[in-house]
Protein backbone atom coordinates (compact mmCIF):
# COMPACT_ATOMS: atom_id res chain seq x y z
CA UNK A 1 0.00 0.00 0.00
CA UNK A 2 1.39 3.41 -0.88
CA UNK A 3 2.58 5.74 1.83
CA UNK A 4 -0.14 8.24 0.94
CA UNK A 5 -2.91 5.65 1.25
CA UNK A 6 -1.52 4.56 4.61
CA UNK A 7 -1.46 8.14 5.82
CA UNK A 8 -5.02 8.73 4.63
CA UNK A 9 -6.24 5.80 6.70
CA UNK A 10 -4.31 6.89 9.77
CA UNK A 11 -5.45 10.50 9.51
CA UNK A 12 -9.07 9.49 9.00
CA UNK A 13 -8.87 7.25 12.05
CA UNK A 14 -7.30 10.01 14.14
CA UNK A 15 -9.99 12.50 13.12
CA UNK A 16 -12.67 10.03 14.19
CA UNK A 17 -10.91 9.48 17.53
CA UNK A 18 -10.62 13.22 18.30
CA UNK A 19 -14.35 13.73 17.78
CA UNK A 20 -17.24 14.05 18.27
CA UNK A 21 -17.21 17.83 18.50
CA UNK A 22 -19.66 19.75 20.66
CA UNK A 23 -21.73 20.69 17.64
CA UNK A 24 -22.72 18.54 14.69
CA UNK A 25 -21.58 19.62 11.23
CA UNK A 26 -23.78 19.60 8.16
CA UNK A 27 -23.30 20.52 4.55
CA UNK A 28 -26.09 22.82 3.41
CA UNK A 29 -26.90 23.34 -0.25
CA UNK A 30 -29.46 26.06 -0.91
CA UNK A 31 -31.48 26.19 -4.08
CA UNK A 32 -32.89 29.55 -5.12
CA UNK A 33 -35.98 29.38 -7.30
CA UNK A 34 -38.59 31.76 -8.57
CA UNK A 35 -38.85 35.46 -8.09
CA UNK A 36 -36.10 37.94 -8.88
CA UNK A 37 -32.79 37.18 -7.19
CA UNK A 38 -31.21 40.43 -8.39
CA UNK A 39 -33.49 42.50 -6.17
CA UNK A 40 -34.32 39.76 -3.65
CA UNK A 41 -38.07 39.64 -4.21
CA UNK A 42 -40.27 36.60 -4.43
CA UNK A 43 -37.46 34.07 -4.28
CA UNK A 44 -37.81 30.75 -2.55
CA UNK A 45 -34.67 29.45 -0.93
CA UNK A 46 -34.74 25.75 -0.13
CA UNK A 47 -31.91 24.43 2.03
CA UNK A 48 -30.98 20.78 2.09
CA UNK A 49 -28.78 19.65 4.98
CA UNK A 50 -26.60 16.56 4.79
CA UNK A 51 -24.84 15.43 7.91
CA UNK A 52 -21.14 14.80 7.35
CA UNK A 53 -20.21 11.21 7.96
CA UNK A 54 -17.69 10.88 9.41
CA UNK A 55 -17.85 14.19 11.23
CA UNK A 56 -14.99 16.62 10.77
CA UNK A 57 -13.07 18.23 13.55
CA UNK A 58 -13.11 21.99 13.72
CA UNK A 59 -11.30 24.77 15.47
CA UNK A 60 -12.37 28.33 16.09
CA UNK A 61 -9.62 30.67 14.92
CA UNK A 62 -10.37 33.49 17.32
CA UNK A 63 -10.16 36.39 14.92
CA UNK A 64 -13.50 38.00 15.49
CA UNK A 65 -15.77 39.31 18.16
CA UNK A 66 -18.73 38.13 20.15
CA UNK A 67 -22.15 38.60 18.70
CA UNK A 68 -25.31 38.66 20.77
CA UNK A 69 -28.69 37.38 19.75
CA UNK A 70 -32.03 38.72 20.76
CA UNK A 71 -32.68 35.65 22.87
CA UNK A 72 -31.03 36.13 26.23
CA UNK A 73 -29.88 32.56 26.52
CA UNK A 74 -27.85 32.33 23.38
CA UNK A 75 -24.65 34.05 22.48
CA UNK A 76 -22.72 33.28 19.37
CA UNK A 77 -19.17 34.20 18.58
CA UNK A 78 -19.06 35.25 14.95
CA UNK A 79 -15.69 33.85 14.08
CA UNK A 80 -13.63 32.09 11.49
CA UNK A 81 -13.39 28.33 11.74
CA UNK A 82 -11.07 25.72 10.31
CA UNK A 83 -12.72 22.39 9.55
CA UNK A 84 -10.61 19.31 8.88
CA UNK A 85 -12.26 16.57 6.87
CA UNK A 86 -10.97 13.08 6.16
CA UNK A 87 -10.77 12.41 2.42
CA UNK A 88 -12.49 9.06 2.73
CA UNK A 89 -15.96 10.59 2.44
CA UNK A 90 -15.64 14.06 0.92
CA UNK A 91 -13.62 15.78 -1.79
CA UNK A 92 -12.82 19.39 -2.63
CA UNK A 93 -15.67 19.44 -5.11
CA UNK A 94 -18.14 18.96 -2.24
CA UNK A 95 -17.39 22.47 -0.99
CA UNK A 96 -16.98 24.42 -4.21
CA UNK A 97 -20.58 25.21 -5.05
CA UNK A 98 -21.65 28.85 -4.72
CA UNK A 99 -24.70 27.81 -2.73
CA UNK A 100 -22.84 25.42 -0.45
CA UNK A 101 -22.05 26.23 3.14
CA UNK A 102 -21.54 24.60 6.51
CA UNK A 103 -23.99 24.57 9.38
CA UNK A 104 -23.18 23.74 12.99
CA UNK A 105 -26.11 22.49 15.04
CA UNK A 106 -26.73 21.79 18.69
CA UNK A 107 -29.60 22.01 21.16
CA UNK A 108 -29.44 25.82 21.04
CA UNK A 109 -29.99 26.03 17.32
CA UNK A 110 -27.75 26.40 14.32
CA UNK A 111 -24.90 28.59 13.15
CA UNK A 112 -24.27 29.11 9.46
CA UNK A 113 -20.82 29.49 8.02
CA UNK A 114 -19.77 30.73 4.60
CA UNK A 115 -16.92 28.84 2.98
CA UNK A 116 -13.92 31.11 2.44
CA UNK A 117 -11.45 28.73 0.91
CA UNK A 118 -10.33 25.13 0.76
CA UNK A 119 -6.79 23.97 1.38
CA UNK A 120 -5.65 20.39 1.18
CA UNK A 121 -2.58 18.69 2.53
CA UNK A 122 -1.28 16.18 0.07
CA UNK A 123 1.52 13.74 -0.50
CA UNK A 124 2.67 12.63 -3.90
CA UNK A 125 -0.34 14.18 -5.57
CA UNK A 126 -2.90 12.53 -3.30
CA UNK A 127 -5.02 14.57 -0.88
CA UNK A 128 -4.49 13.41 2.71
CA UNK A 129 -6.92 15.75 4.38
CA UNK A 130 -9.23 18.60 3.36
CA UNK A 131 -9.14 21.82 5.34
CA UNK A 132 -12.11 24.14 4.87
CA UNK A 133 -11.93 27.68 6.22
CA UNK A 134 -15.36 29.13 6.91
CA UNK A 135 -16.76 32.35 8.38
CA UNK A 136 -19.80 32.63 10.61
CA UNK A 137 -22.79 34.38 9.05
CA UNK A 138 -25.09 34.10 12.00
CA UNK A 139 -27.85 31.86 13.18
Amino acid sequence: MSRANTLVKRISKAITKVGPMSRTSYKRVSTVTGGDELIGRGTTITPVDTKFNPQPIYRQLGHRQAMYLSTATLQLVADDFKFTFPVTQVSQADFQGANTYIVLKDANGEERLRILYIATDDLGGKDLVINVFARSMGH
Binding site: E37, I39, G40, R41, G42, I45, A98, N99, M137, G138
Partner: protein
Amino acid sequence: MANMRALRDTFLHYLSDNLPGVIIHNMRVDKDDPKLNEIMLNAVNVTFHNTDLSGPSQLSAQLVTVDVINDNELVALDQTEKISQLLFTAAYAPLLDYTIPASPVQIQNERLFWNLSLGFKPVHAENFVHMSALLHLFVHFS
Protein backbone atom coordinates in the same frame (compact mmCIF):
# COMPACT_ATOMS: atom_id res chain seq x y z
CA MET B 1 -44.41 53.88 0.35
CA ALA B 2 -41.03 52.13 0.56
CA ASN B 3 -39.24 54.47 -1.82
CA MET B 4 -35.76 53.52 -0.65
CA ARG B 5 -36.44 49.90 -1.51
CA ALA B 6 -37.94 50.98 -4.81
CA LEU B 7 -34.79 53.04 -5.42
CA ARG B 8 -32.62 49.94 -5.14
CA ASP B 9 -34.87 47.78 -7.24
CA THR B 10 -35.26 50.44 -9.92
CA PHE B 11 -31.55 51.18 -10.20
CA LEU B 12 -30.57 47.52 -10.35
CA HIS B 13 -33.11 46.79 -13.05
CA TYR B 14 -32.27 49.97 -14.92
CA LEU B 15 -28.76 48.64 -15.32
CA SER B 16 -29.74 45.02 -15.82
CA ASP B 17 -32.50 45.62 -18.34
CA ASN B 18 -30.53 48.13 -20.44
CA LEU B 19 -27.10 46.51 -20.54
CA PRO B 20 -27.61 43.27 -22.47
CA GLY B 21 -24.80 40.77 -22.00
CA VAL B 22 -23.60 42.44 -18.80
CA ILE B 23 -24.18 40.60 -15.51
CA ILE B 24 -25.36 42.84 -12.69
CA HIS B 25 -24.70 41.56 -9.16
CA ASN B 26 -26.07 43.29 -6.07
CA MET B 27 -23.73 42.69 -3.16
CA ARG B 28 -25.83 42.43 -0.03
CA VAL B 29 -25.99 40.40 3.16
CA ASP B 30 -28.45 37.51 3.18
CA LYS B 31 -27.78 34.57 5.44
CA ASP B 32 -30.05 32.37 3.34
CA ASP B 33 -28.17 33.15 0.10
CA PRO B 34 -24.54 33.57 1.12
CA LYS B 35 -23.04 34.04 -2.31
CA LEU B 36 -24.75 37.43 -2.55
CA ASN B 37 -22.20 38.86 -0.14
CA GLU B 38 -19.28 37.88 -2.35
CA ILE B 39 -17.68 39.72 -5.23
CA MET B 40 -18.73 38.28 -8.55
CA LEU B 41 -15.97 38.11 -11.11
CA ASN B 42 -16.79 39.20 -14.67
CA ALA B 43 -19.79 41.14 -13.50
CA VAL B 44 -20.83 44.65 -12.49
CA ASN B 45 -21.12 44.58 -8.71
CA VAL B 46 -23.52 47.15 -7.24
CA THR B 47 -23.30 47.86 -3.51
CA PHE B 48 -25.53 50.27 -1.63
CA HIS B 49 -23.93 52.24 1.20
CA ASN B 50 -25.04 55.32 3.12
CA THR B 51 -28.75 56.01 3.14
CA ASP B 52 -29.30 59.68 4.00
CA LEU B 53 -32.96 60.23 4.60
CA SER B 54 -34.50 63.68 4.52
CA GLY B 55 -37.95 65.00 5.19
CA PRO B 56 -40.73 65.28 2.66
CA SER B 57 -39.66 68.64 1.27
CA GLN B 58 -36.16 67.47 0.35
CA LEU B 59 -34.53 64.68 -1.60
CA SER B 60 -33.00 61.72 0.19
CA ALA B 61 -29.69 60.34 -1.01
CA GLN B 62 -28.39 56.82 -1.42
CA LEU B 63 -24.68 56.29 -1.90
CA VAL B 64 -23.87 53.42 -4.22
CA THR B 65 -20.71 51.98 -5.71
CA VAL B 66 -20.65 50.44 -9.14
CA ASP B 67 -17.69 48.07 -9.34
CA VAL B 68 -16.69 46.60 -12.68
CA ILE B 69 -14.65 43.49 -11.90
CA ASN B 70 -13.25 41.45 -14.74
CA ASP B 71 -10.33 39.23 -15.65
CA ASN B 72 -9.97 41.08 -18.94
CA GLU B 73 -9.05 44.76 -18.69
CA LEU B 74 -10.39 45.68 -22.10
CA VAL B 75 -13.76 44.08 -21.36
CA ALA B 76 -13.85 46.04 -18.09
CA LEU B 77 -13.16 49.25 -20.00
CA ASP B 78 -15.96 48.48 -22.46
CA GLN B 79 -18.36 47.89 -19.57
CA THR B 80 -17.46 51.14 -17.83
CA GLU B 81 -18.20 52.95 -21.09
CA LYS B 82 -21.55 51.20 -21.52
CA ILE B 83 -22.59 52.02 -17.97
CA SER B 84 -21.61 55.66 -18.42
CA GLN B 85 -23.40 55.94 -21.76
CA LEU B 86 -26.55 54.48 -20.22
CA LEU B 87 -26.55 56.75 -17.18
CA PHE B 88 -25.71 59.83 -19.23
CA THR B 89 -28.68 59.25 -21.53
CA ALA B 90 -30.83 60.92 -18.89
CA ALA B 91 -30.33 62.04 -15.33
CA TYR B 92 -33.37 60.21 -14.04
CA ALA B 93 -35.58 57.16 -14.36
CA PRO B 94 -39.17 56.60 -13.29
CA LEU B 95 -39.33 55.02 -9.83
CA LEU B 96 -40.91 51.59 -10.05
CA ASP B 97 -42.47 49.35 -7.43
CA TYR B 98 -41.14 45.83 -7.87
CA THR B 99 -43.31 44.15 -5.25
CA ILE B 100 -44.36 41.84 -8.03
CA PRO B 101 -41.04 41.52 -9.87
CA ALA B 102 -42.50 40.40 -13.17
CA SER B 103 -44.88 43.37 -13.26
CA PRO B 104 -43.23 46.53 -11.96
CA VAL B 105 -45.59 49.44 -11.44
CA GLN B 106 -44.58 53.04 -11.81
CA ILE B 107 -44.90 54.98 -8.56
CA GLN B 108 -46.89 58.02 -9.46
CA ASN B 109 -45.06 61.33 -9.54
CA GLU B 110 -41.80 59.81 -8.28
CA ARG B 111 -38.42 59.70 -10.00
CA LEU B 112 -34.97 58.37 -9.27
CA PHE B 113 -32.24 60.96 -10.01
CA TRP B 114 -28.47 60.90 -10.32
CA ASN B 115 -25.71 63.29 -11.34
CA LEU B 116 -24.25 63.16 -14.83
CA SER B 117 -20.79 62.44 -13.54
CA LEU B 118 -19.21 59.04 -13.07
CA GLY B 119 -15.58 58.68 -12.06
CA PHE B 120 -14.24 55.14 -12.37
CA LYS B 121 -11.15 54.71 -10.25
CA PRO B 122 -8.88 51.68 -10.48
CA VAL B 123 -8.68 49.54 -7.35
CA HIS B 124 -5.56 47.48 -7.06
CA ALA B 125 -6.15 43.74 -7.24
CA GLU B 126 -3.65 41.13 -8.24
CA ASN B 127 -5.99 38.67 -9.87
CA PHE B 128 -8.41 40.87 -11.80
CA VAL B 129 -9.06 44.42 -12.91
CA HIS B 130 -11.37 46.45 -10.71
CA MET B 131 -12.85 49.81 -11.69
CA SER B 132 -14.99 51.48 -9.03
CA ALA B 133 -17.37 54.43 -9.35
CA LEU B 134 -19.15 56.22 -6.54
CA LEU B 135 -22.58 57.56 -7.30
CA HIS B 136 -25.32 59.38 -5.40
CA LEU B 137 -28.88 58.42 -6.16
CA PHE B 138 -31.65 60.80 -5.14
CA VAL B 139 -35.26 60.07 -4.41
CA HIS B 140 -38.13 61.65 -2.60
CA PHE B 141 -38.52 59.68 0.62
CA SER B 142 -42.06 59.36 1.97
